[in-house]
Symmetry: C2
Subunit: 314 residues, 2 copies
């Protein structure tokens, strides 16, 4: 079995690589691709690291062969970056996805093509609970490009050009590392920084509800996607991954429950209307019955997520 991961040096790519190397005994080769040369987890000899810009369509063509079992396409220009530079977003988020799909169609249509989509495909006026049947009306260039890829993956799968599956990820919390310029950066920051004894800013109203998943649960669900039998080609190949709804206020209460009230003194509340409006436009609750029915899993509660972070990421 050969598996390819784009965005292989990213936070999720590296974590998924480790998990696959640990759990899949039938994994003969794991190819990690990124715009900076990826690092092989534990120097595992099964890993091949490729430095490649996804705009290199000839490079993408050579990547997919008869040996390829699955491709995790995680690489993306993230939300705020794509908003600033929609043309780069189009090239990486959309065109590279199409080129990868074309490479599968031409070289090996049996490839399980697992695409990392996002709740950012939703936006604007939304129902209280998102259903499988809810229209995607993105209010960002990133969400638009993800939604276009979902459509393309469906059509390629319906026509037998690839065996595709688009997974819509919740906001991931708690991400390790540093804050970034994503509007959702604070979601991890208000947990991670206080746990490290550092200060963090909460820019949103405390009653704001979020739709979250822990990194471990997302990785488990990515691995599960590999084991699912192929859906009927005429089915809709987009799955809202499980998550949980939690208010910022409850996140802080759970943090205090785990580490004591004093930890909350690290958090400053500086309301930022633009960040609040962006994050409030995302769905806070998604009906993920379809995902649960086919074996994808959800976090039990947020206290467990905090404990998971303390044990594994600190």
């Amino acid at each position: 079995m050969q598996i390819i991961i784009t965005g292989g040096q990213g936070f999720l790519g590296q974590r998924l690589a480790k998990k696959l190397l640990n759990e899949r005994r039938d994994l003969e080769e794991l190819v990690l691709i990124d715009v900076i040369k990826p690092i092989a987890p534990n120097n595992d000899p099964r890993v091949r690291c490729i430095e490649m810009d996804l705009r290199d369509s000839t490079g993408l063509q050579a990547l997919i062969t008869e040996k390829t079992t699955a491709l995790y396409h995680l690489a993306a220009i993230v939300s705020s970056h794509a908003e600033q530079d929609p043309d780069l977003g189009y090239e990486i988020n959309f065109l590279a996805t199409r080129n990868l799909l074309e490479a599968c169609r031409q070289n090996n249509p049996k490839v399980r093509f697992i695409f990392s989509s996002s709740l950012a495909v939703f936006g604007g006026e939304l129902p209280e609970i998102i259903q499988d049947s809810t229209a995607v009306t993105p209010q960002s260039t990133y969400g638009t490009q993800k939604a276009m890829c979902e459509l393309l993956i469906n059509d390629y799968t319906r026509k037998g050009f690839v065996d595709g599956l688009a997974l819509r990820l919740p906001t991931i919390c708690i991400r390790p590392g540093k804050p970034n310029k994503a509007a959702s950066s604070f979601v991890s920051s208000i947990m991670r920084e206080p746990l490290h004894g550092e200060s963090a800013i909460c820019p949103v109203a405390q009653d704001l509800n979020l739709w979250l998943s822990s990194p471990d649960t997302v990785i488990n669900n990515f691995v599960h996607a590999l084991t699912l039998p192929s859906l009927n080609p005429r089915d809709w190949h987009v799955i809202n991954l499980p998550g949980f709804t939690i208010s910022v206020k409850q996140m802080l209460a759970d943090l205090a429950q785990v580490k004591g009230e004093a930890i909350l003194k690290h958090i400053q509340f500086n309301f930022d209307e633009s960040i609040n409006n962006i994050v409030a436009s995302w769905p806070a609750t998604i009906n993920c019955k379809t995902a649960l029915d086919v074996g994808f899993t959800a976090d039990k509660n947020f206290v467990d997520v905090i404990q998971q972070f303390i044990q594994c990421d600190m």
Copy 2:
């Protein structure tokens, strides 16, 4: 005022051209573009006819200038053709649309970009009545490409790159001319051929419901789209155009009402499961309140549509 119509030699393009030339006194130049050189209606000196393949991105760039007020993008590879040749469909239905949007963004972002979308963006398991909030899940390459364009037009409009509007057309009935290979060809054929004293085949169950609009109503709605004030950039710039629901049985009854029972002897009923399944997968009723609220119109009844055809198209 300069207006451009792609697909300018097509049935809708020519009809729209005539209407605009008749009704818009402020129209200084009407540019008709098609893959075969279009004909200027009534040799009107305001018309400029351009033979151009929409894959010519340099040609598209030169087309949009500061003079351009509006672009009707009607050209498309139709459903059955795009299904057989998805790559050509991608180039014309998607890539040319993006190149046109780019030309507006770079040369004149104020252009009112009116895009001809389709009920084919819907498919699979559908609610009884399609709402504005119903997810698009196309079951055809044509519908996929139209849905991708809708997303792109929304994002370009949200960012102020163009003033876009995507109009989802019902199945148009009664089209003049000859039958073609579209699955929906019979919808016009079972009316048009008997009215001409010729025979036609009905390949579907008579209780099948369809979502229709007359050509004149679609053209009136295209012209109305030119006069609408710009929507808020953050609104959703896709409108389900008004139509009406009618069963095949009722269409035949209305034809008999207009021309007498004897006309029905021209129709043979040869059930074709594949055509029936395709047409049955399309929505039969769409809630078009949003369209009616902003002044788009619907046909009153099907008898009027038949009379309209007899008076204007025979």
